[in-house]
């Protein structure tokens, strides 16, 4: 059975701190690893990682995939209160039929 594990489950930081969120996966016929940000309602897409070792960046957020160690990290630098959310990691199969999600990391950024 496919499995995605995120750590930590909860994290509280101060504005300006840098955070690293972790995601390990066991997905049969793995194709890609996705990160989403979930505030009140819909998870919003952040990154899709398919190749190992290639960092993707969007502003203060960046992510990288290690397909040998079956691991991904999401980095957020110079955190802001607006970064407070649940960050979800998901593994996708080659068939594209489903995402297997981790439990998420609840990030709280205090002013």
């Amino acid at each position: 059975e496919d499995k995605v594990v995120q750590s930590p489950l909860s994290l509280v930081v101060h504005e300006g701190d840098t955070v690293t969120l972790n995601c390990s996966y066991e997905v049969t016929n793995f194709r890609s690893l996705l990160w989403y940000k979930q505030e009140k309602k819909a998870p919003t897409f952040l990154f899709m990682l398919t190749s190992s070792g290639i960092e993707k960046k969007s502003g203060r957020l960046s992510s990288i995939l290690d397909k040998k160690e079956l691991f991904s990290i999401l980095n957020i630098t110079a955190t802001q209160t607006g970064d407070s959310a649940v960050y979800l990691c998901a593994g996708e199969e080659t068939s594209g039929s489903r995402l297997t999600f981790g439990e998420g990391t609840q990030l709280t950024v205090n002013p």
Partner: protein
């Protein structure tokens, strides 16, 4: 529309009743997915539609759950004889995906329907 649209946003019903949840995917998206998010848990896959192919129903938790997608667009998730454990947020997602080697497009989610069974 610009994004995935789900209705209703909230649904409260009595145990034993049937409910229908609706999802209108992003225009042009060929793939549609349903997930369930229970309190304090990650998203759980329910069902996947891809074009005219037979849906992947492997995530449906019981035969009380069913879904259809008419005309390759709007989808309806039906839960019959609801139970209290069905209370959750039901999320729909869509993507421009043909699966396999041809696809590498992310899924985009709607705001979900919060279902509460009394």
């Amino acid at each position: 529309g610009a994004g995935v649209s789900q209705s209703p946003s909230n649904k409260v019903t009595e145990k034993g009743k049937d409910v229908e949840l609706r999802c209108d995917p992003i225009s042009g998206h060929t793939a549609l997915y349903w997930y369930r998010q229970s309190l304090g848990q990650g998203l759980e896959f329910l069902i996947y539609f891809q074009g005219n192919s037979a849906p992947d129903k492997s995530g449906l938790p019981s035969d009380r759950f069913s879904a259809e997608r008419t005309g390759g667009s709007v989808s309806t998730l039906t839960i019959q004889r609801t139970q209290q454990e069905d209370s959750a947020v039901y999320l729909c997602a869509s993507s421009f995906s043909r699966g396999g080697i041809y696809s590498n497009q992310p899924q985009h989610f709607g705001d979900g329907t919060r279902l509460s069974i009394l």
